[in-house]
């Protein structure tokens, strides 16, 4: 293998390229038209063809907090410690069976060293975000219908319509919502709706260095998401709430709430 690369002549490579130029151009145009079909704001984008969801591989998350920072920057979330669309929690289970959880700055700057006196049995990181539930209590309680499930399965808030009563924040069992301190309306993760409808990935997924977050379309039969759901032991948060979350955790144990 090592020998083959130097053997490939630059001239040969360029002439190959020139010969295949028409084919490449044709491919590019097809991709472009496919992309424009996919693009958000385009009349041809059919949201009912999609059902977006996310999976999280607990074994892969290293707690670096890049996703938290990317989310804040992408979505203009205040850079303080009390407003997060996504955050990362660290679970430490001691040898005595005690569970300690922390999330300093929402995990945005990573995590400090553990205290020396804690004898760790096991420890893991849990990224959190809106679960985009199929049966969302937040949508049920909104008095004006400002929060809704989009046809492509994303729970969204219409910031031009929300009255800021905060009933949805109370109704969310996961603490995934907050009141935007400036706009004074409810806010939450949108799966980066402005990106995904253009065929891009949510910011948190894009920057994750270990691919601990897997974003996809449940209606697509061949996708990394489908594969993950097929081969991992999956759990969702607070299943007894009957909210039917669409953020699936692989490898999370019963301690995670």
């Amino acid at each position: 293998m090592k020998m083959e690369i130097p053997n490939m002549l630059r001239r040969e490579f360029l002439s190959n390229c020139v010969r295949k130029l028409p084919a490449l151009a044709a491919m590019a145009s097809v991709t472009a038209s496919w992309k424009s079909v996919w693009a958000g704001g385009n009349d041809n984008y059919d949201p009912s063809e999609h059902d977006y969801a996310m999976a999280i591989d607990i074994h892969k998350c290293i707690g670096c907090g890049r996703c938290v920072e990317a989310c804040k920057k992408e979505n203009n979330v205040p850079m303080d410690d009390t407003h997060f669309r996504t955050w990362v929690e660290r679970y430490v289970i001691s040898e005595e069976g005690e569970t300690l959880v922390d999330s300093p700055h929402g995990g945005m700057n990573g995590f400090p060293e553990l205290k020396e006196d804690v004898k760790v049995l096991r420890t893991f990181f849990v990224p959190k975000l809106c679960n985009h539930c199929e049966n969302p209590p937040c949508v049920q309680v909104c008095p004006v219908g400002a929060t809704f499930v989009s046809p492509d399965g994303v729970v969204l808030v219409d910031e031009d319509y929300c009255v800021g009563c905060r009933y949805c924040i109370q109704a969310c069992p996961y603490g995934a919502r907050f009141l935007h301190p400036v706009k004074k309306v409810a806010e939450k993760c949108t799966f980066c709706y402005h990106r995904i409808t253009k065929g891009m990935l949510p910011a948190c997924v894009e920057v994750c260095p270990t691919q601990a977050r897997i974003f996809g379309d449940k209606k697509k039969t061949s996708s990394p998401l489908r594969r993950f759901l097929r081969f991992m032991d999956i759990t969702v948060l607070k299943p007894w709430m009957n909210t039917k979350p669409k953020v699936y955790y692989g490898g999370a144990d019963g301690e995670v709430t």
Partner: protein, 414 residues
């Protein structure tokens, strides 16, 4: 170093254990404590008034109209804390225009409008119509115009017409009782139906709210009656006051039993939330729940009423006992609302930690706004009692110097 700093920060901010980052700040603050408190007073005062009207508890006649006007004064103010609390109050009207039918909160507008327009205003109007017509003839100047407007053109005060007023008033009261139950039961439902919150989620919540509403309403009318009599230099009708205290005691017994049932039920079921809730009660809520709500707001008033009703206490002493009881009940019911609303947000939904509530002094959701909203109903009540004097059925009225003219008219109509 950072870890040490974080620990210090957590301790300084009063957060213990783990709280979801979005939960550090409370989302429903003091104004949402004031809202169910005010609504409860409305429902309670109305239910009290209906006792005289529908159930013919004649001894309550002196406070019948006063209770109605009290209910109206508090009803007018009740939506203001909600409005002030909204992030975007300018959009509040959307709740009426495009209500989301699956939302308990969206029904607020309709329950409120129904109760205010159909029940309270209509009942008061039918009850006062004859007097209003008389005043519109006797008064001069602006007052005359006001009363003419208030007659809404119905100026017939023949015996038949007045009889109809009475029938209509009674009919409205009969509709009004379930409406009052609906009004405050509904407020309880707003909290009780939140499955995400184990402190709120309880089928008993609407019923507990309702009975605590009746308790607070009776105590308020008792207070208003005592204070207004004092300032009008009228003797209290002790039969009425004794009855009010007795009713207050019964309502408190039912209310306390229901709350105790809820408490015992939670303890016995011992669900996963029990640890954090126990921790909350023994730390954050110890003062407001154990000391203020249960001891000062429930046990002491119940004892003082029992003492007053034991039959061996002089009227003067009874009045003092009832007065203290009624004041303490108000404090107790306010802390009941506090413990529900604020308590429900002091623990994390991760069930792993507690946060703290920092009360603002100024600001739209601060202490001053709340105090203002608690005073405002009394200002409205003062104006209402001047416009529509509610004094009636008080036998001692005869024994004292002749009342001013407008009161004499009111009295003759009673």
């Amino acid at each position: 170093m950072e870890h040490v700093f974080n620990n210090l920060l957590a301790e300084a901010s009063g957060v213990t254990g783990f709280v979801f980052p979005n939960e550090y700040e409370l989302h429903w603050e003091l104004l949402i404590v004031v809202y169910p408190y005010l609504t409860g007073l409305v429902a309670g005062a109305f239910i009290l008034a209906s006792l005289e009207r529908v159930f013919k508890v004649r001894v309550l006649l002196p406070i019948y109209r006063l209770a109605l006007l009290t209910a109206l004064s508090f009803m007018i103010v009740a939506p203001l804390p909600l409005l002030a609390h909204l992030g975007r109050p300018e959009r509040a009207f959307e709740m009426f225009l495009t209500p989301h039918t699956s939302s308990a909160m969206a029904m607020f507008g309709f329950v409120y409008a129904w109760y205010l327009a159909v029940v309270l205003l209509l009942e008061i109007w039918f009850d006062y119509r004859r007097d209003i017509v008389i005043w519109s003839r006797e008064k001069k100047g602006l007052a005359k115009i006001l009363y003419i407007i208030l007659t809404l053109g119905a100026r017939d005060i023949s015996e038949e017409a007045v009889k109809f007023d009475h029938k209509a008033g009674k009919f409205i009261t009969i509709i009004g009782i379930p409406s009052a139950f609906l009004l405050h039961g509904y407020v309880g439902f707003i909290f009780g139906s939140i499955k995400a919150n184990p402190w709120w989620s309880s089928v008993l919540m609407p019923i507990v709210f309702l009975f605590s509403a009746i308790v607070s309403g009776i105590a308020l009318v008792l207070l208003v009656y005592m204070v207004t009599s004092l300032f009008r230099w009228k003797k209290l009708n002790m039969g009425c006051v004794d009855k009010l205290a007795e009713l207050l005691l019964y309502a408190m017994i039912v209310d306390f039993s229901l709350e105790l049932l809820d408490f015992v039920h939670r303890l016995y079921e011992s669900e996963e939330s029990i640890h954090i809730l126990s921790e909350m009660i023994s730390s954050r809520l110890f003062m407001s729940l154990i000391i203020i709500q249960i001891t000062i707001g429930t046990a002491i008033p119940m004892l003082s009423i029992i003492m007053g009703r034991s039959g061996k206490v002089h009227a003067e002493m009874r009045r003092i006992l009832y007065f203290i009881a009624a004041i303490l009940v108000q404090v107790g019911i306010f802390s009941t609302r506090w413990n529900v609303v604020i308590g429900g947000q002091l623990f994390s939904k991760s069930l792993r930690g507690l946060t703290v509530y920092k009360l603002e002094l100024l600001g739209p959701e601060g202490l001053l706004t709340a105090v203002g909203l608690l005073i405002l109903p009394f200002v409205i009540l003062y104006v209402l009692t001047k416009t529509l004097p509610p004094w009636m059925g008080n036998e001692e009225d005869h024994l004292l110097p002749p009342p001013p003219k407008e009161e004499a008219v009111a009295h003759s109509s009673a």
